[in-house]
Structure formats: structure tokens, C-alpha cells
Symmetry: C2
Subunit: 381 residues, 2 copies
Amino acid sequence: MKFIHTSDWHLGRQFHNMSLLDDQKAVLADFIHYLKANPVDAVVIAGDIYDRSVPPTAAIELMTQTLDTLCQEMQIPVIVIPGNHDGAQRLGFAAQQMKSSGLHIISDFDAMMTPVVLHSESAGEVAFYGMPYNDPEQVRHYSQQPISSHDEAHQWLCQQILSNTDSQQKNVLLSHCFVDGAMESDSERPLSIGGSDRVSSDHFDAFDYVALGHLHQPQKKGAEHIRYSGSLMKYSFSEQHQKKGMTLVEMDEQGFKSATHIDFTAPHQMRIIEGELDTLLQVGKDDPHADDYLLVRLTDQHAILDPMDKLRAVYPNVLHLEKPGMLMGIEQQVGRAKLARGELDMFKDFFSEVQKTELTSEQNEAIQAVIEQLNKSKGQM
Amino acid sequence: MKFIHTSDWHLGRQFHNMSLLDDQKAVLADFIHYLKANPVDAVVIAGDIYDRSVPPTAAIELMTQTLDTLCQEMQIPVIVIPGNHDGAQRLGFAAQQMKSSGLHIISDFDAMMTPVVLHSESAGEVAFYGMPYNDPEQVRHYSQQPISSHDEAHQWLCQQILSNTDSQQKNVLLSHCFVDGAMESDSERPLSIGGSDRVSSDHFDAFDYVALGHLHQPQKKGAEHIRYSGSLMKYSFSEQHQKKGMTLVEMDEQGFKSATHIDFTAPHQMRIIEGELDTLLQVGKDDPHADDYLLVRLTDQHAILDPMDKLRAVYPNVLHLEKPGMLMGIEQQVGRAKLARGELDMFKDFFSEVQKTELTSEQNEAIQAVIEQLNKSKGQM
């Protein structure tokens, strides 16, 4: 039996005021294309389908189209749990009416206890249990147990499921949580503050496979069969070197057999480029991926007029600009008086860019007087 | 064949900051109770399931529970169109995956052209066409025709459907619109300004039955078989004398046979009560429905301290208070100087309520001087 494990689609996400929906649409089209060439028995999505509990309608339409293709056209069962970004009740609307079409949205603890059982020649019956995203308080309320941490919550939920399993079946679990020791990115919303969101991988050991969601980097945790598939695409610049895609899981009579990363690449990558403005502009002219989503770090030590406009003429999707070079210039100087000279230097750079000539000594004195006066009045405030 | 025609549930509606969800829940429980005693072949809901495009999660959960009972437990097909209050794309999420369970949410024009066909011994095949709520611009865009009014839009959409019907089948249409000459209430959100939202009932004549939604009063329009079921419950004080419930429709070999109003009454009614405060308080003590949602019109001609508190001690759900009696007192006086005397009178009422004594002549002069000064300063502003 083969199935695709994926998570963290975050449909409808905005990044620096840029909608990523067209990129998400392109990756999902590649995914469908892959599935048509490489049939699987199921698709499991371990949470964070949407980026927020009330997603934009365009994200809902994309999800509807994707499900129509998977469930109706291709007849592939799809099993979904909500993540911390999704609204469980909204996502779970009329979920009972979807099951007979092979769409299983498991959005509450009661539904968690009834697995989706799929049959296959190679692995026999495989029971898929979905554990909807939960925080300790929800589990405390549901269990009536004194549960105070994510770890205790997941321990209790795993025990409930494991005490319910059928020894004739292989068991797969979908869960959306932060397994201890896993690697974070900048684009995951913290589940709670100060490390109390960490869950031990031990609770998951007894399952044949655990399809995790929440962390955006593909990785195994504690054992080969406990895995994050990672997110659909890059959602922060800190993910620039991460592989993105989905995990192809194979099961046989023994249970877990293998997990393979399938690479999917969004049309626009998220990258950080660094250098002096003139060099970057020169290099960008021959860069076939100049329209990637970029964070640009300018190393120039002098002030530059409208650097964003200049960069965007070559790199249309510069989303963020940093100027560590200029800060270094400032950091090397110490104290208020020296900072005032820094401002004069910046004005000189500005003046020469705009006027294509240097300040006369008279102009120099005048502007210095203005800056000093400004600094004096700042001191009085 | 028998089916229930209902519309305008407005789940999640707030009325004067009061959630009506518990009342809606109670009426839907009565509805389920009725269906268990009086089986039908289908339930059709002609729009405005929710009160807004992003309904509160509690409203979504109530709808989910209701659909679970209807579609799963009772195996009754349910056919739904969005109204002007619903978000069509949100309501239509994964609608394809619901059809095999008998839940048909028809949220776009393409889906409109494929009827839900139900079989019955008494009426043969009945085709249910759902026309999702639409405005002229949407229909102009979809049809590529120069459509500029609701009337033209519905004419064109009806023509599309009618040119597609099977002569062996009876045809039922669900539509959410304002049929010309129908009676309005205060709780319907206008579709457009100045009468351009009106649709002629002529376009609907050729259908065997037309299940209309939008207007909150049960009524037929132009013919016996073109009907509004009215809303689930009262949603404005202007509806105090309206019957509320659903319409039981019967079809036979000839097509439409009969339509019967089934009365459902919410636990709290919306009523207007009118009279002097003391009388109302006296009457309220013996009123078994003192907890109805009330608009109170006080006819007292003098100012009263904290009338809302006094009323709510007897009628806990007074939602709105009008004092036409006091306004009459003011309206009888003319001009600014006389209005100033009106303010003095009101102060005298207030003083005697609080102090249980009349103003002395000194106090009278003092307060009169203050009011005059206030009016003078208002004039300068």
C-alpha cells in the first residue's frame, strides 16, 4: 500500500502582502500530475490546510477543486485533520455527508476514535486515525483528566486510540503537534510559549506510521516511521534551503516499509541574496529566476536613494530589503555626537545621488547646523 | 410525493445584541420531531441558511447537527441554495463530496443545470433545480448577455433551466429573490435600491412548484404553486403577527397538488406591548410569556427614571424601548424657548422621582437659569 503524507498547505497565505495562492495552485497542479502518473491508495493531510480559521474564498475554491479532482475524478480517499491554523468546526461542516465520497475530515475527538479503514493486497487492512489539532485545555475538558501540557494531552489521546485498535490491522496516525527536538522554521505559529508545546515521540512508537503536521521542514522524529512531510512550499526566508514537497509512504505486511520525499517546487522560490547594489543589479540581468520572492541584503556602506525601485526593475518580487552594510557603518561609530556625523554623511550621499555634485563648503556648514539644531531639539523632548 | 419547503433560517442571527441561536435550535428540534411523525421525501431550503457569509462557529455546528440528523439518521435528501446572506463559495465547500449522502448544496450556475432527481410513486420523477442567489452583474458575467436587472437575470436563468427540462419529469425550482408585489418585513436585507430588485412571477409559471426564499412572510405570489415559505422564526418586531414555520408541498401525477403551512413557534415570540409603565408592570406579573422578546412602547407623558430596569424586572427580555408618550408632550410644544420649558419639566419629573418631593421655587429658578445658559451656549456652538 502506498499513500501520500502531506501537511501545512496554508492555502490563502499572504507573505509580505503578496498572495501565494497562484504558487499554491501551481504546486497542487504538479501534485495531481504526479498522482496521475504514480497512483496511490490514499492522501493524508496532517493539518493547516488553510492559513487561518476564516480563509479567503479563493483558498476555499482551490481546496474544493483539489478535492473534486482527488475524490471524484481520481477516486482517491483523502483523510484530513485540522491544524492549529484551521478552524476545526468550520472545516468540519457536514463532514458526515462527505465520508461516502471518500473525503474524511476528522475534526473532533469522537470522530478520532473511528478509523478510516482501507484495504490493500500488500498490507491488508490499514486503519487511519486522525487526531485533530488540540491544546491541553481541550483535552482536559474532553478527558476529564488533570492534563496540563501538550505532552500529557498527546499521551492520553494516543492511549485512547491504541486501546481501541484491531490487532488484525496496521495503524496510521495523523497528528498536528510539535514533537520534541524537531527543527523549526520562522513560518510556524507557536502552539504555546516557552517549550510547553513539545510532545515526546515515545507516545507514537506503537503506530505503524505517524503522519505529522505543523513543522515546515521534512524530517523524521525519534524513529523512521514518525515523520513530518514538511509544508507544501516555502513560507519564510528561513526555509530557503529546505526541500519542499510530500512524503510517499509504503506499507507492507510488516507495517511500515519506506518513506520517500517527493520534491515539488513552487514557481517562485524564496531566496535571500546579498551583495552591493550594483553587483546584484548586474547579476540579476542574467538570472533566469529573477522573479523569485527575495529578501535582499545590501552590503553597500553608503546611503542609496530608492534602492527598492532600482532592485525591482531587475528583481520584480523583492519582498524585503535589509541594509546591514549601512548599519555596520553606524555601529562602528559610538555616541550621539558621532551619530550626528553619520546623518551628515547620509545627507551627502543623498545630495550627490540627486544633484550629481558634491556639497559646497557653505552648504556643508548649513546642513551641519540644521542637523545639530535638530539633535539639540530632540534632546529637549 | 411530499416535501418540506423552508427558507431564511438565518442561523447565528443577533437581534438587539441577543443571540437567537437557542430559539433556532428549539425550532429545528420541533421540525425534526415533526418529520419523525410525518415522513417526507425531501427537504428544500431556499437560501439564507446563515445570517452572514462568515457565520459564527456555533451556527455552523447547529447546521452540521441538523444535516447529520436529516441526511444520515433519517436518510432524507436535502437540497440547499445560498441566499443573499450566505457566502456561496463558503457554503459550497466540497459540495461534490456530499451528493452521494443526499446533501445537495447548489452554489453556482453550472451546478444549477443538473437537477437533483427524486423518484416517487405518486408523482413519478421530480427534478429539483436550485438557482443560487444571484445579482444582475453575476448573471451578466456568466451569460454574456446585456442583463441589467434582477428581473432580466431571473428571466434568463429560468429560460436556461426550462430549455433543459425532461418532459417526463415534474420540475421544482428553488430561488432566492424578491417576487414583485410580495409583502416585506423589516428583517430582510434589500437586494438593491429603489425597486430594481423586483422579479416578475411570470418567469416561474412553467415550473410545477417554485420554492422561494428571501421574504419572511409565508405567501403565494401570482399563482398557488409559486410560494414563499417564510422565515424559520420572527426576526423583527414588524413580524409580530406573521405565522412562522414551513410549507408542506404535495405533488402528484398532475404536478402541484397542495401547499400547507406547518406552524412552528419559537420559545420566545417577538411582540410589541404598549401602555403606561405601571399598567404594563401589573399585567406582566400574570403574563406566562413575560420572557418573550419585547419592544415596549411607554405611553406615559412624564419622564421616568430607569424604565428599562423596571420593565426587565417583570419582562426579562425587553430588547427595545420607545417613549412615544413623552415625544407627544414635546411635539405639542413649538420653538426653542418652549423646548427649554420641556427640559425643565423633564428635570422636575426626574427630581420628584429621586427625591420624592417637588422643587422649591428657589431650586426652580436655579435650574431654569442653568438650562437657559446651556441653551445659550448651544446657540454659540
